[in-house]
């Protein structure tokens, strides 16, 4: 990969070391932290308990939840698309749509599948789309969050630009909290893997309380978010 440039580093860091009253440090090991409360939250909870926590956390973040078995997923998705007004849809190039048997539903709708060869046309399609459909890569029970490892195929615009974001959540990927997702990322960094350029943890529709502290749901991102939980995947 092409290396970027670094400017003014040595004088800047020398000044820091000087202010700290020592020589520059070139090797530091992280200490073994005395406090790690994050690992105690929902420790030992079963997948059913985590699902219950996840669903409860969706309420305050204005996210609706539907549950289905895998075999009924296509009809559940079709129904959800109708609920949110149907129309144009955008999805990523994600093999899970095929794995979960959703190709037919996509074909039956006005669906744009993200294609990098089409360049900026993808963005036009996404901003005009009524619904974006994505798969959550990890879901966080504590906060009702969907984690997306976005790349050029699973584009970040899909859960951002359309008015409604529908997210498919296999029950098996629900973890207690952000801690477990961070651990997955951390392990990949330590193994020398290239992490995705955009790791996005999304909890509900965009919102703001900037006007007299009144909560307004739907600012720059989607106005509605719905989860479709697949109970046996």
């Amino acid at each position: 990969m092409t290396q970027g440039t670094i400017h003014n580093r040595e004088a800047f860091l020398d000044n820091i070391a000087n202010k700290l009253g020592r020589e520059r440090r070139t090797k530091v090991s992280k200490p073994s932290w005395n406090y790690r409360p994050q690992w105690e939250v929902f420790k030992g909870d079963s997948q059913d308990e985590l699902l219950a926590t996840f669903k409860k956390a969706c309420e305050p973040v204005h996210t609706s939840v539907k549950e289905t078995k895998a075999e009924a997923l296509p009809s559940a998705l079709a129904e959800l698309l109708t609920t949110y007004g149907g129309g144009s849809i955008v999805v990523g190039q994600d093999p899970r749509f095929h794995d979960f048997g959703l190709q037919e539903v996509l074909d039956q709708n006005e669906t744009h599948i993200w294609d990098t060869d089409l360049g900026a046309l993808n963005i036009d399609k996404a901003k005009e789309a009524n619904i974006g459909i994505s798969f959550s890569d990890i879901s966080l029970a504590e906060s009702g969050t969907a984690v997306f490892f976005n790349d050029k195929y699973k584009a970040r615009s899909i859960s951002l630009l359309p008015i409604t974001s529908i997210v498919i959540v296999p029950k098996s990927i629900i973890v207690p909290r952000i801690t477990q997702a961070m651990k997955v990322i951390q392990d990949r960094v330590q193994a020398g893997e290239m992490i995705e350029p955009y790791i996005n943890m999304v909890s509900g529709p965009s919102n703001s309380a900037d006007i007299e502290m009144n909560l307004v749901v739907g600012v720059h991102g989607p106005i509605k978010v719905a989860y479709l939980i697949v109970l046996d995947r």
Binding site: M1, G4, I16, T26, F42, I195, P197, H220
Partner: protein, 480 residues
């Protein structure tokens, strides 16, 4: 516009704040609401087991990181540039602005869209970009409101437009952008969404701040609710991140703890709507991602705190929990501080970054009740820092008034010479008699004036404690 807000003297700003009834009411209800939400999400959330353990974890991480800041910044610059990003270390605000000006000039960029960032407010980046012909648009709803309203300044670190009511915002939108709907927040926000959508799509450059950089992966973590930071980091071709040099964690493991502390302490959310990790990837071939990444790491006075008694002030994660419990902020509001950093952390940071000459009076905007220290999620001893600042100020740092210096000197002489002390004690009731009514002073002279303008001062008694105690002991002895 840089860190400073306004040119009026401190007490004049405070008077102005005290007279602004809407602002005062807004501060009260905002503080109450934010504080209640924070308590519910911290000490009130049993699933966290014990909030104090989280605070300890946060303090431990911040201390280690700041003690090894040179190492982690070096690591960050290596990992960020290894993925094709450019890193610029800026010792001053001017250096940071010059570099960013160069980047936009080389790109021939004219349209810049920004997400909320206190550090870019601090260095006056908007003005620097406008000076080279750029059209700069703030996209955070609060910042957008302030920008439209003739570049008004933030009054709260997390909710910058707290001092404005919805009618004022409606009128600003009407006057500046031809808005035709009502003052309903939903309609105002929908209007901003429409206005900004095209701006995001057409921008050449996107600029964000940085909640935390992750040293070992070269990532920038952004913690937001509106989705504008995601727009800013998705659509423009060039991405510039500006970070205060202390806003860094060693790895994603520590990011977990600090993001949790930030979201819960700032707005009482378990997580904000968006927690986004952005890592340069110039060869990813994405259609909807930047192609050119720049990270500007800013000192601008921060290193003055390193190795000093104020080092822990740099542990701050900008949650404003201290602001939301401060009784002084509650009454005087954000603009009275004269700095973009308000409340207790503002009164600690501003003199470090901007010097005692400009901000030496701010540490006095505190009752030293220590509610701030108790609220801080990373356990910065804020009220102790305020006392230390006062000591430096009175000892001659900055522009402590000569009268104040003289009176402190006179007090020191008087208090260290028993005869002088006795004499002053005896004279005080007589000297203050013209100002005394019903054993209270309500219009005191000189240094007592600011105090007695708003509350009575008890007049010194003719009897002193020592004499009373001796009499008391004698009576006790006689009774036996």
């Amino acid at each position: 516009m840089p860190m400073k807000i306004g040119t009026e003297p401190f007490f004049d700003r405070v008077d102005k704040g005290l007279q602004d009834q809407f602002m005062r009411q807004a501060m009260v209800s905002a503080q109450d609401s934010l504080r209640e939400r924070k308590l519910k999400a911290t000490t009130g959330d049993r699933s966290l087991i014990d909030w104090e353990l989280w605070r300890n974890a946060g303090e431990e991480i911040r201390r280690h990181t700041l003690e090894n800041l040179d190492y982690y910044l070096q690591q960050l610059s290596e990992t960020y540039s290894a993925r094709g990003g450019h890193v610029y270390f800026a010792a001053t605000a001017e250096e940071a602005n010059q570099y960013i000006q160069e980047v936009v000039k080389k790109k021939g960029a004219k349209k810049v869209v920004k997400a909320k960032s206190m550090v870019t407010e601090e260095i006056g980046l908007n003005e620097a970009l406008e000076a080279v012909g750029c059209d700069v648009l703030e996209s955070d709803l609060a910042e957008y409101i302030l920008q439209l309203d003739d570049h008004d300044r933030p009054s709260h670190i997390v909710v910058p437009s707290l001092h404005k009511n919805k009618e004022q915002i409606r009128d600003t939108f009407r006057e500046k952008r031809g808005y035709t709907k009502t003052e309903k927040p939903e309609e105002l926000a929908a209007f901003a969404r429409e206005e900004l959508r095209e701006a995001f799509l057409n921008a050449d450059v996107g600029i964000t701040g940085c909640n935390f950089a992750v040293a070992d992966s070269g990532s920038i973590a952004l913690v937001t609710n509106e989705g504008n930071a995601n727009m800013v980091t998705t659509l423009p071709e060039t991405q510039i991140t500006v970070m205060g040099m202390e806003r860094i964690v060693p790895s994603w493991e520590e990011l977990d703890v600090l993001v949790t502390l930030l979201c819960r302490s700032a707005v009482g959310q378990k997580l904000t709507t968006y927690v986004t990790g952005l890592t340069p990837d110039i060869e990813a071939g994405s259609v909807d991602s930047p192609r050119d990444y720049h990270l500007v790491i800013v000192d601008a006075g921060r290193s003055k705190a390193l190795g000093t008694e104020f080092q822990s002030a740099l542990h701050c994660i900008r949650c404003a929990a201290c602001v939301n419990v401060c009784p002084v902020y509650r009454h005087i509001g954000g603009h009275s501080y004269g700095s973009i950093y308000q409340g207790p952390i503002g009164a600690v940071l501003s003199p470090i970054l901007g010097g005692y000459e400009e901000y030496g009076e701010l540490p006095y905007a505190s009752s030293l009740c220590a509610a701030c220290t108790e609220a801080c999620p990373v356990k910065i001893p804020l009220h102790e820092h305020l006392i230390r600042h006062r000591q430096h100020y009175v000892a001659g740092a900055g522009k402590a008034k000569s009268g104040e210096k003289l009176s402190m000197k006179a007090f020191a002489i008087g208090a260290s010479h028993p005869s002088l002390f006795q004499m002053a004690k005896k004279m005080a009731p007589t000297m203050l008699k013209p100002f005394t009514k019903d054993e209270n002073i309500s219009k005191g002279p000189g240094p007592m004036k600011p105090w007695t303008e708003i509350r009575d001062f008890p007049a010194p008694s003719r009897d002193d404690f020592r004499k009373w105690f001796e009499d008391h002991k004698r009576k006790e002895a006689n009774l036996k």
